[in-house]
């Protein structure tokens, strides 16, 4: 329960921020085909945050009005929630405990109402527990196979050994955590 609450809070922070920022007018970067994945490791818990343009996931970013679009959104959210099918941890046994998906369209839409382009993003937070994170050797990304529009993920990893940044591309969908 506490776990799920903390993940929900995290997402609230993710979602609420653009509204606050709109008071002073600012716009975040948004690049199609280019998602961000943040991974924080401490003890045996792993927290992952995925921020990815709607175009990468469902192939469009306009508001889902037609039945087909709506079905695509529902399907995408279901796929995003199943973290174990998207990211596969190597070296240690890890279980995806919690996942929260938000499609950033509504908040984002309000913020950019006065701007010419309307972009939407999916924000997903995963909570994972592993038997021994010190044995984690890498992550594989079936993610790219599940979402054919995605091209690249900027992965930031925080752990006991420090802070690292990687680029994972569709051609080589894996990441080595050994240095």
């Amino acid at each position: 329960m506490i776990r799920s609450a903390s993940a929900a809070l995290l997402l609230a922070a993710l979602a609420a921020s653009p509204v606050a920022a709109s008071e002073t007018r600012s716009s975040g970067a948004h690049e199609h085909g280019h998602g961000q994945l943040n991974i924080a490791i401490e003890g045996n818990s792993v927290l992952m945050e995925l921020q990815i343009p709607g175009a990468d996931i469902v192939g469009f970013e306009h508001e889902a009005k037609s039945d087909a679009d709506k079905a695509a959104m529902i399907d995408a959210e279901k796929k995003l929630k199943d973290g174990a099918a998207l990211f596969s941890f190597q070296g240690a046994t890890c279980t995806f405990e919690q996942a929260h998906v938000e499609d950033g369209h509504d908040d984002h839409g309000k913020q950019s109402a006065s701007q010419e382009a309307e972009h939407s993003e999916f924000h997903v937070a995963y909570e994972i527990s592993c038997d021994d994170t010190s044995r984690l050797s890498g992550i594989e990304f079936p993610f790219f196979a599940v979402f054919p529009h995605s091209e690249e993920l900027d992965v930031t990893v925080l752990g006991a050994r420090g802070q690292f940044k990687y680029e994972v591309e569709r051609d080589t969908p894996m990441l080595s955590l050994k240095n």
């Binding site: 922070a13 920022a21 600012s26 924080a40 927290l47 925080l158 420090g162 802070q163 690292f164 940044k165």
Partner: protein
Amino acid sequence: MILLRLTGRSIANRWATALLTVLALAVSIALFLGVERVRTGARTSFGSTISGTDLIVGARSGGVQLMLYSVFRIGNATNNMTWESYRDIAGQPEVAWTVPLSLGDSHRGFRVLGTTEAYFEHYRFRGGQKLTMRAGEPFSDLFDATLGADVAETLGYKVGDPIVVAHGLGAIGFTRHEDMPFRVSGILEKTGTPVDRTVHVSLAAIEAIHVDWQSGARIPGQSTGADAVRQMDLTPKSITAALVGVTSKLKTFKLQRFINEYPEEPLLAVLPGVALQELWSLIGVAETALAGVSAMVVLTAVIGMMAAILSSLAERRREMAILRSVGAGPGTIALLTVLEAALLSLAGAVAGTALFLTGLAVAGPLADQAFGLYLPFTLPTAREAAILGIFVLAGIVAGLFPALRAYRISLADGMTIRQ
């Protein structure tokens, strides 16, 4: 086995040439290993300039730039961050500790950093090592200054010496804060980081030296004495940047997002490890160039060995002819030549490694002391062992060419009487 013995005897017979060849190989391989070690050492030293800090916060600019001016003291901040924002961030529940940094003044060419005692507690380098004092204590009084090792060494300061801080960053301070003399309270141990080239004072001290100054110039006719300054409220209005530690790594991204989207002031929070990595990717080209140069040195030595064996063939024509006449086939002769190349390069690799390890044991501590280049004495790593293996293989391949020649000419050449 007999072939090996024959090769050994043959080499022993030509020991002077062989020794020189092995020496050339050994020097080149030692050089290559040395460059490899310095290269990885430089990267590690660079990467461990700051450790244990989860976020660096400053005015919104770029991650690399924030890193450069706050940690490496290179360049200047585009903007400061206000004290209110700093207090607000320090008060967040995810924050375990903060260290404010205030830059902008100098002392005879060295940067003056205004900070708090927390700096000595939380600034870590090289995998969590703390700053330690070589002499004296960290600053505790308003007019105390704690010097980095290079500052004290270059300027010849001792604990207790008075120093004067200049306004601005010129090597010759054109506007000096002479009415506010500081006292050296302590000198830090050498770290190999920009800390060595920094004069540390308290945040309040930075305010104090600017009491009678306005817009970078002295207010005419106004001079507040040191004692009067002590009575004033010296809370800074702004700082340059801050180091932040979080209570749990899992909260780093949340705090980073909070700071990056802080509505009251455009701020930037960077992950120092990631910013260092980005910075290294810019300057790391030099690293590749170094590796390229040393690879060429090894290539030259291998070619040199090939030439030495080739020219030795002339010297050995009789030896080979005799071997042929007692029944050795041309293949055996070729094998002898390849074996010789293998033995020479193996000897070169072993001698080179020994040379490298000796050099490392002697020069490693010196490099750390002089340049802050951390070169720990360890046996060759897996990577270095692989390089040695490749080198020996390359030596054997290089031996194939003379072997082919020996195969072709051994009999005819040896039997022909030269004029």
